[in-house]
Symmetry: D2
Subunit: 221 residues, 4 copies
Amino acid sequence: MKTNELIASCQNEWDGYIKHRFVVELGRGTLPKEVFRHYLEQDYLFLIQFARAYALAVYKSDNFVEMRKPLAALHSLINHETRLHVEYCNAWGLTEAEMMSIPEATGTVAYTRLVLDAGQSGSLTDLYTALAPCAVGYGHIGRWLAESPETVWEGNPYREWIETYSGEEYQSGVIDSIAQLDGLLAEISDNSLNAGRIRKVFRSATCMEIAFWEQGYDAMK
Amino acid sequence: MKTNELIASCQNEWDGYIKHRFVVELGRGTLPKEVFRHYLEQDYLFLIQFARAYALAVYKSDNFVEMRKPLAALHSLINHETRLHVEYCNAWGLTEAEMMSIPEATGTVAYTRLVLDAGQSGSLTDLYTALAPCAVGYGHIGRWLAESPETVWEGNPYREWIETYSGEEYQSGVIDSIAQLDGLLAEISDNSLNAGRIRKVFRSATCMEIAFWEQGYDAMK
Amino acid sequence: MKTNELIASCQNEWDGYIKHRFVVELGRGTLPKEVFRHYLEQDYLFLIQFARAYALAVYKSDNFVEMRKPLAALHSLINHETRLHVEYCNAWGLTEAEMMSIPEATGTVAYTRLVLDAGQSGSLTDLYTALAPCAVGYGHIGRWLAESPETVWEGNPYREWIETYSGEEYQSGVIDSIAQLDGLLAEISDNSLNAGRIRKVFRSATCMEIAFWEQGYDAMK
Amino acid sequence: MKTNELIASCQNEWDGYIKHRFVVELGRGTLPKEVFRHYLEQDYLFLIQFARAYALAVYKSDNFVEMRKPLAALHSLINHETRLHVEYCNAWGLTEAEMMSIPEATGTVAYTRLVLDAGQSGSLTDLYTALAPCAVGYGHIGRWLAESPETVWEGNPYREWIETYSGEEYQSGVIDSIAQLDGLLAEISDNSLNAGRIRKVFRSATCMEIAFWEQGYDAMK
């Protein structure tokens, strides 16, 4: 089993996530600012739960060698990505104190707690599988936007976002994530019960990412 | 701290859940059948996760005396409630095999995994607090519908549902649930950090119940 | 991978456990009564943690079909085995209230918490692997004692114990346990990383069973 | 409830741990080298599980502020303490590769898995309570040795060990650990059920530390 096969096993859902109107409108620069702001707020709350998921991966490790990868991810998430995110949010008029007190929306709860529950109830492979729609998907989204002829660069208020996720640094992290998940998936035979469970986790996690895109629009109604 | 104070601490969300249009329309008999069928399907998937939550409560117990309550709940959930639910679904044209293969909708994932994560990451009190909007809320809903002058009994296709949750057997189970949660909450001082966390869990779980009502309507769009 | 191969992968430790002097002396009827009494007390505390482990297996299940087996085990453990154990202990002059207040000895903590941690941090297969030295091993011990020419039946104060574990009912339960674990192990290739981890869990759990036998003698010093 | 009261609630066990013959002989420089070497090997395996426990504390945190403390502890454990420990072991002729392949002894399994299970099944307070016999106890041991007239400094092969744990850096970390645990314990009333459980966890963890000291002597027999 490989990451690409996981994606192929739910290609419709995957495309629905990668090419969601949120992404398309972000590329064109037409995404309503309220929707983006809602996304920024929820993404902050999302990062808290993601840090917890990487901590769970450290807990699920057998030795210091195994721990090093999720620990590096955790460290970078807390000291790098979250700081960048908070700075970026400040530029959109959102303070960290405000974001801490905002309630988590349904899609945020759904995706993050699915990841944490898959991780607690399953193996390390279940945990990384549930994380993949985020860890791998944002790379696909960045690349798709960068390559799309419809993407507007000049004057696009979301240009920085697109540049971050299509940029070399992020893309190289995605290659690492895929390599790591491929290593874990190599242990699973295609027709096994484990394979069935892993595919279900991946599809469900992808659907929850769609719900995460959707919720900013719902909030505007 | 008491269950009633938890409810009062998020009265708006609680009312939004108990008196949701799903409930109102169910009482009047005007709820679209597709919405109800969607609810029945998701409720089956919900019960699986609820059984897991009670199993978690058994795991979190220190001795046989403590285990007995969640074990009885687990037993009754699997051998009684689920069977009744499956029979009831059959009457609505849904088989168990079908329901097992339906994907979980966002609201189902959100509420159930929030409960499981609150239970894993917190104490037994966090777990039962997250379960309360369901365990206690359905009792409030049943009673509210039974007492409401707007409730239609004659020819209401949802009459059996209303009778189940307003019935003596269910209501007496709710009293037990409240007593048990009150016992756990008695250990928590009103102004403590734990109290803050518990209130947040309860409010968030209540909001996810609203999302659970809402999702049948979303699916119809 | 199969249960038998797990045993073969640590045959020395396994034999050290199955043919421990505790077992040998129990078969000959020469085991010091204080050692046996200590074992009975600790075994009661052990059963509490074992019930928690089966509850964890229910929690780790994906659907009602998977839940049924560990739930039946949990039910039988609490309502049947524990009751028998308490009755049996009464005959040796130990009450349940007394046993509840005795501190867990090191071997009891070591084996039971290893099982629970293997179960929480790994997959369902890790959990059942850690349980196997108990679930499968007591069957081997019972059979070994029943077949050994050194076993004394007449006047052996431990005859009932030997009869229980060599008896048809217990032996048939062991066959079920092996079949179930074999089903889970079939998913694991012999040379995989998972296989390495599973063998380590099994060997470590077997060593903790040895510590469990040993602790009664230590307490007498 | 306070850390000091926890200690007072099992003063005999605490003294049995702090003033164990392992500690006394270490202070006098008479501890058999084989016993100390066994301790060093097991302490390496212990640190792996301790890192997992701090990762669990990060997972159990609600927000970035709460995460920071256990994350700093985790970071320092992996990048500082473990490195120092490995260097120190090298000086005693032990390589990291060797230590990774040594099986965990019973006392190591018992203490570490008790901590992890208390943390998984209970709250963050249960987790830190179970960690305290190590986090706080080594500080008491270091101070007791430094103040004891029986401690031999000149030519003591364990002088570096004593200096580490009685040193200012370690002692100031202990003060922080106590302050943090006191903060969590402040939420628990003395006569509550939670208080009873917390005391039991602390006493049991202290007894497992005694088993950890003892196991080097057992291995020599």
